[in-house]
C-alpha cells in the first residue's frame, strides 16, 4: 500500500506539466472556445437583428450603438460578425469530421488492397493536382449556394490529403511486428483493423484534421468572398468582407473586424494542431524543430 501511493501521485503533475510545456495548445483552445461560445450564443450576443436593414444609418463608424459600425445597408456589423462565427465553426468542424472519416476509410482500403490502391490513388493524385480552392469553386459552380454544398465542396477538395496520410500510416502499421504478432495469435482481419491498426492511426489523423479545419474556414471565407459560397442572405465572415470591399476606404471596419476574427480563429486552430502534434508525437516534433 505504501508503494502504491507515490505511484498514483506522480502521474498527475506529469499531465499538468505536459500542458505547461505546450502553451500553444492552451492559447489555441481558449480562443477556439471563445469563438465556439460566440457561435452558440449568437442570438444573445448580437445587439440587433443581423439582417435588419436601416438605410438611414448606412456606413456608421463604430459607436456605442453599433459596436463594429454598420454596412452600406445599415446592418449592424457586430451582430453580423457574431452570426458569421456560426458559419465558420460549422464549416470547420463538419469539414474536418467528414474529410477525416471519408479519407480514413478510403486510406484504409487503399492500404489493404493493391487494386483499389492503384485506382484510388490515381484519382486522388488527379484531385490534388487542382488547387483546393479552384476545385471548390468549380464544384460550387455546379450547384446552388448553400452551406451544406459549401461543406461538401470543401470536403471533396480536402479528402485527398487525408487519404494519402491514412494510406501511409496503414502501410507502415500493416508491416509492424505487433500486427504480425497479433496475426500469429489468431487475430482476424477486422480485429487487426479495429484493435491494432486504427488506434495507432488516430494521433496523426487528429492532428491532420485540425489543419483541415483551419484550411476549410479559409476556403469557406474565400468562397463567400468571391460570391461562390454561402448565400448572401446568411452572414458569414467572407460575405461581410465581400460586401465591405467596395467601401473599404471609407468604412474599413467592414473588412477589418470579420478579417480579424477569421485570422484569430485560424491561428488558434493551427496552434492547437501544432501543440497536439507535439504532444501526440514527440519524435516528429523533435525532427521538425
Amino acid at each position: 500500500m505504501a508503494i502504491a501511493v507515490p505511484v498514483k501521485e506522480d502521474t498527475r503533475p506529469a499531465r499538468r506539466s505536459a500542458l505547461r510545456r505546450h502553451p500553444t495548445v492552451v492559447i489555441g483552445l481558449v480562443i477556439l472556445i471563445a469563438v465556439g461560445l460566440m457561435a452558440i450564443a449568437a442570438p444573445w450576443l448580437a445587439t440587433l437583428d443581423p439582417t435588419a436593414l436601416s438605410p438611414a444609418k448606412r456606413l456608421r463608424p463604430p459607436s456605442a450603438e453599433f459596436w463594429f459600425g454598420t454596412d452600406m445597408m445599415g446592418r449592424d456589423v457586430w451582430s453580423r460578425t457574431v452570426y458569421g462565427a456560426r458559419v465558420s465553426v460549422i464549416t470547420g468542424l463538419s469539414v474536418a469530421a467528414l474529410a477525416t472519416t471519408v479519407g480514413m476509410v478510403l486510406g484504409l482500403l487503399a492500404g489493404f488492397d493493391r487494386t483499389i490502391d492503384a485506382i484510388l490513388m490515381r484519382i486522388m493524385d488527379g484531385l490534388m493536382a487542382i488547387p483546393a480552392i479552384l476545385l471548390a469553386i468549380a464544384l460550387m459552380a455546379l450547384t446552388r449556394a448553400s452551406l451544406s454544398n459549401v461543406i461538401i465542396a470543401i470536403v471533396v477538395a480536402e479528402v485527398p490529403r487525408v487519404v494519402r496520410l491514412a494510406r501511409g500510416v496503414v502501410l507502415t502499421l500493416r508491416d509492424a511486428t505487433f500486427v504480425e504478432a497479433a496475426t500469429a495469435s489468431g487475430t482476424g482481419f477486422f480485429g487487426l483493423l479495429f484493435r491494432h491498426i486504427l488506434p495507432n492511426a488516430v494521433a496523426p489523423l487528429v492532428v491532420q484534421s485540425t489543419y483541415i479545419a483551419a484550411s476549410a474556414m479559409i476556403t469557406e471565407a474565400i468562397l463567400s468572398f468571391i460570391g461562390a459560397g454561402v448565400p448572401s442572405s446568411t452572414p458569414s465572415w467572407g460575405n461581410i468582407m465581400a460586401e465591405g470591399r467596395t467601401v473599404f476606404q471609407i468604412a474599413p471596419q467592414l473588412v477589418l473586424f470579420p478579417g480579424l476574427c477569421l485570422s484569430a480563429t485560424v491561428l488558434a486552430v493551427n496552434m492547437l494542431g501544432d501543440g497536439l502534434r507535439d504532444m501526440l508525437d514527440p519524435r516528429l516534433a523533435r525532427r521538425v524543430k
Partner: protein
C-alpha cells in the same frame, strides 16, 4: 513410431521480386515430436525465419509464394487449410514469439488486453476469468506485481519483461507447439539466459514442442534436442544436439563451430584471431548448381560444383548430412 507433431516435407518457398525469383527455402524437411525442441540454425538470410514463418503461413503473399511441399501439424495439412481454420490454430495450438520484443507489442493497448486477446478468442471464457488466468500466467513468467502490469502499456516495461509478456501471450492457450524466431537476439546476455530457461521450463510443464530459430550455437546447446543446420535455403545437416556438437559432419557446420569465439586463446600470450568462413553467402536469386557451399569450402572438388548433394543418413544415429565428402571430413575432424 507414431506420427510426429509437426512434419515439414520438401517445403519450397519462393519470393517473386522485380529482380527475379528468390529461392528462399528449398526442399526443407524436418519433423518435431511432441514435447521435443528443434533448433533451426544458420546465418542471416539462410531461410530459417522464412521456414518458421511459413509454418503459420505468416509470410506476406505476394511476394512470398509456397512453391511446393507439405506442412502437417497434428494430422492436418496446414498448406491447404482455409484462412479461418488457420486462424483457429494460430495462437491456440501453435504459439509464436518474435525476435523484437520492443515492437511486437501494440503500443496503444495495455498488456492485459493484449494478453487476454488470444485467450478470449480461442476459449469460451469470461473477461474476469481470462484476467485471472493471465495474472497467474504473468506471475509464472516471473513478472513481479502482475496485477499492476496488466494495466500498463508496453513502453513501461523493459525489453526482457516485454519478451516475457510475449512468451506469456504465446503460451496463454497452452499450445502444442511454440515457434520462437530468434527470441533472445535483441536481449542482453543475462536476460537471454533467463528467457531461454523460461521457455525450457514452460516447455517441460506444458509438454509443448518448440521450434527455436537462432544463429547462436550456444543457445542451441542449452535447450535443443535436435538441430537442423540451414545454408542458402537448404538443410545441410540434421542431427541430435550432442551428435552435432561432438561430430559436426558438414564443412559449413564445422566452420560455424570454429567461428565461435573462445575465452581462452589457443596459444598463451598470442592474440588468437577469430576463425571465419571465407567468402559470402551466395545470392539465392540465381539457381545454384552443385553444392551451395562449394565456393567457400576447403574440401570442395569438381563434383561439388556440378552435382548438388542430397541430405542422406550418415551412420546409424539419425544423423543426416548433405555433403559429398562427409565421410572424409569426419575423419579430418
Amino acid at each position: 513410431m507414431s506420427e510426429p507433431l509437426l512434419r515439414v516435407d520438401k517445403l519450397r518457398v519462393r519470393f517473386d521480386t522485380p529482380e527475379g525469383v528468390v529461392h528462399a527455402v528449398d526442399d526443407v524437411s524436418f519433423q518435431v515430436g511432441a514435447g521435443e525442441t528443434l533448433a533451426i540454425v544458420g546465418e542471416s538470410g539462410c531461410g530459417k525465419s522464412v521456414t518458421a514463418l511459413s509454418i503459420l503461413r505468416l509470410l506476406p503473399s505476394p511476394p512470398a509464394r509456397l512453391a511446393g511441399g507439405s506442412i502437417r501439424f497434428q494430422d492436418q495439412e496446414l498448406t491447404t487449410l482455409s484462412a479461418s481454420a488457420m486462424r483457429r490454430i494460430r495462437g491456440d495450438r501453435i504459439g509464436m514469439v518474435f525476435q523484437e520484443p520492443m515492437t511486437s507489442l501494440n503500443p496503444v493497448l495495455t498488456i492485459g488486453r493484449q494478453l487476454t486477446e488470444g485467450l478470449l478468442r480461442h476459449r469460451p471464457l469470461s473477461r474476469a476469468a481470462a484476467r485471472s488466468h493471465v495474472t497467474a500466467l504473468l506471475e509464472r513468467v516471473q513478472i513481479p506485481d502482475p496485477a499492476r502490469r496488466l494495466e500498463q502499456y508496453p513502453h513501461e516495461l523493459s525489453g526482457g519483461m516485454r519478451q516475457r509478456v510475449m512468451i506469456a501471450i504465446a503460451m496463454a492457450c497452452k499450445p502444442s507447439l511454440l515457434i520462437a524466431d530468434e527470441p533472445t537476439t535483441a536481449l542482453d546476455v543475462t536476460i537471454q539466459a533467463q528467457v531461454l530457461d523460461l521457455i525450457g521450463e514452460l516447455r517441460d510443464e506444458m509438454g509443448t514442442a518448440v521450434v527455436l530459430v537462432t544463429h547462436d550455437l550456444g543457445v542451441v546447446g542449452d535447450v535443443a534436442d535436435r538441430v537442423i543446420v540451414m545454408y542458402a535455403g537448404r538443410v545441410v545437416e540434421d542431427a541430435a544436439v550432442d551428435d552435432l556438437f561432438d561430430h559436426p559432419l558438414h564443412p559449413y557446420t564445422q566452420g560455424l563451430f570454429a567461428a565461435r569465439p573462445h575465452l581462452v586463446p589457443a596459444a598463451a600470450g598470442q592474440r588468437a584471431r577469430l576463425a571465419e568462413i571465407p567468402g559470402i553467402v551466395p545470392s539465392l536469386r540465381s539457381g545454384i548448381t552443385g553444392c551451395a557451399f562449394a565456393p567457400r569450402c576447403a574440401a570442395a572438388t569438381a563434383r561439388c560444383r556440378t552435382e548438388a548433394p542430397v541430405l542422406r543418413p550418415h551412420g546409424t544415429s539419425g544423423h543426416s548430412v548433405a555433403c559429398h565428402h562427409a565421410a572424409i571430413t569426419r575423419q579430418a575432424s
